[in-house]
């Protein structure tokens, strides 16, 4: 029951090359992203000009919160504590995992149910719990599919978007029995039958598991309220039935006031699943005697977010409300899928968020700001107006300024030598013309990166100068 990890994934260009050759993946993605784009378009247009006003307000609320985040963090802590919750602070993934593991161990339980949460994916909480002998059961349908298939999430909202119904049926038939209630033997690939199988598989577990782990879409500073939007009711099960609830929430999830939700509860469902409203939203403030968990723990997670905050251009990425509209609209994502981005945050937002959260120390993270054609569609659909292309270009500058690009600098210095002397240039061109059949489509070594997305142009049989001189017949070349 090990969980897969993004660690050791190849960088984007390499992963994308494999992905675009997977015709089944491309079919699944095209179908799913088109469906959701159309739905989103309809419910956004329905609000007319008001959409732009809500979008501007959403961006402004988040901006202001980020610019005074220290104030709002302290206010949130106070509000949650006043309402009977416990607040913990985690500098990084390891610390968050230690805190959650300790809290679960204190309950004496070895099973936890989980509501889909990007933050716990990011810190790979399930692996940490497993190392401590605790099994985390994912309960969101798509997360369940990914967990049963020992797969990785490929989309923020629908982590199993890369799989079609027949693949999901196979995973259910093969794996459900190992984790609990098996799939019915005659299971078909009808989505209704698959949803029913998930209901049956998880039912008993919901009713008996005493500890739950969640994330949150919003944390309201003035009231201390946590908010989870969902569709299936698995969230309600986890947030309501267990005795202990542990929520891991990134520090950027804060909104200042309860009334700010009137903006985000319009922006998020319409942008995300393309619905006027998602089926279920739960809000809770601390603990309510006699209703829901008796104990509530909020773990506030930094894990690189303060690094993002320190970059005045990149900071806007923290406005993200994880709707995934930018993934669904991105021509690059539609062709490569989410796994190519090597992170739980794929697509355009992932391309700016991941390298900022993790830094640009690895090849994978350095490649991400280039995983875009800068077409700008992501900015157009973003409900909080994150200028993703602007941040991509900014991060490219940062990556290009690193000493890792010494090869490119050496190449340019070499070019200067060649181009500054017509004799040298002529000799190089002649040599190239003679060797033209030997030129590979893909350049070796560090120059290979350039040819990851381009083929090397054909080398002409003779240079323009040589052809011109020959036609003129007047002079020998190389003077």
């Amino acid at each position: 029951m090990s969980s897969a990890t993004f660690l050791g994934m190849p960088p984007f260009p390499e992963a994308a090359r494999t992905a675009v050759q997977d015709s089944r993946l491309r079919y699944n993605l095209r179908r799913a992203t088109r469906t959701i784009r159309d739905k989103r378009g309809l419910v956004v247009d329905e609000l007319g000009d008001d959409w732009a006003r809500l979008r501007a307000e959403g961006a402004e609320i988040k901006n202001r919160t980020l610019r005074h985040l220290d104030h709002y963090l302290e206010q949130l802590e106070e509000s949650v504590t006043r309402a009977g919750g416990h607040v913990h602070w985690a500098r990084d993934a390891a610390e968050a995992n230690r805190i959650v593991t300790g809290l679960v161990q204190a309950t004496g339980e070895t099973d936890v149910v989980k509501v889909k949460s990007m933050a716990t994916q990011e810190i790979e909480l399930n692996n940490a719990l497993e190392a401590a002998g605790i099994t985390a059961y994912e309960t969101d349908l798509a997360e369940l599919i990914v967990q049963l298939g020992d797969d990785l999430p490929s989309h923020i909202l629908v982590p199993a978007i890369h799989l079609g119904r027949s693949q999901i049926r196979e995973i259910f038939l093969e794996q459900m029995a190992e984790w609990g209630t098996p799939a019915p033997p005659g299971l078909t690939d009808d989505p209704r039958a698959l949803a029913e199988a998930a209901r049956t598989h998880l039912r008993e577990r919901f009713l008996r598991t005493r500890t739950a782990v969640s994330g949150a879409n919003f944390a309201v500073a003035d009231s201390g309220t946590l908010v989870v939007l969902e569709s299936e009711g698995n969230g309600r099960m986890c947030l309501t039935l267990p005795q202990t609830l542990i929520s891991v929430v990134g520090i950027e999830k804060i909104v200042p006031t309860w009334n700010d939700l009137e903006v985000f509860m319009q922006l998020l469902p319409r942008s995300s699943t393309g619905e006027r409203m998602n089926p279920y939203t739960s809000t809770w403030t601390g603990v309510t005697p006699g209703d829901g968990p008796r104990e509530f723990h909020l773990v506030l997670l930094d894990n690189g977010r303060t690094d993002v905050l320190a970059d005045t251009v990149g900071r806007q990425a923290l406005r993200c409300i994880r709707c995934s509209a930018c993934l669904n609209t991105c021509p690059v994502y539609e062709r490569t899928g989410g796994h190519s981005y090597g992170s739980v945050y794929p697509g355009p937002i992932g391309a700016i968020l991941t390298p900022q959260l993790r830094g640009t120390g690895s090849e994978v993270d350095r490649a991400l700001p280039y995983a875009s054609s800068l077409c700008g569609a992501c900015y157009e659909v973003c409900p909080v107006a994150i200028d993703i292309p602007e941040v991509l270009v900014h991060l490219r500058e940062e990556v290009a300024g690193r000493k890792g690009h010494a090869g490119e600098k050496a190449l340019m210095a070499g070019a200067e030598t060649v181009f500054s002397s017509s004799r040298t240039l002529g000799a190089v061109q002649r040599a190239a013309g003679l060797g033209r059949g030997l030129v590979p489509r893909h350049l070796p070594g560090p120059a290979g990166a350039w040819t990851d997305t381009r083929d090397v142009p054909d080398v002409p049989a003779e240079s323009f100068r040589r052809w011109w001189n020959g036609r003129d017949g007047a002079q020998e070349e190389g003077r």
């Binding site: 307000e57 989505p191 947030l239 009334n259 303060t306």
Partner: protein, 213 residues
Amino acid sequence: MSARETILARVRAALADVPDDEPVHRPRERTYLDSHAVGPTLEVLQDRLVDYRALVRRVPADRIGAEVAAALARRGARRVVVPPGLPGEWTAQVGVEPRTDSREAPLAVHELDAADGVVTACAVAIAETGTIVLDGGPDQGRRAISLVPDYHLCVVRADQVVDGVPQAVRLLDPSRPLTWISGPSATSDIELNRVEGVHGPRTLEVLLVEAGP
């Protein structure tokens, strides 16, 4: 330094560019609309709920008891759970006495699972989005009772329905545990098509009570 102090210090260092005298709170301007004037409130609510494949019936105020009994009979629901503050006349015509669940005397989760359905009122409903909000009040009960049984019959009074989301948010008390319900449980996780019926109640039926004469 504790994690708390470290994170707050990192945040303050990261925000060195923010002027010290910039006000923390921004006056709310509300440039956006309270609602989007899409039509008569109750018609819009009904349309949205039907769009989510909820069952909706418009009923006069003096017929709530009869309609509740009729809905439960159509469903074949015999073991029915109610919150402690549900008006007695709403279930007076139901054949089998409903079981009352309360914070003080909660039913066990397996008893809720064995129930055929639950009847509740609501706190607020939002027409534009087809949303019913429960706030745990005495006529709505604990969150678990509207979750575990597979059938939820919800009585919505016309005077509880607002047009838009901002109007509803202003009426709600965040200190109460809230559940916003927009149709029966559903998923879009298989090829991004909406399919109704996963873990929450697979059937949501709404009795929309018209204002009395």
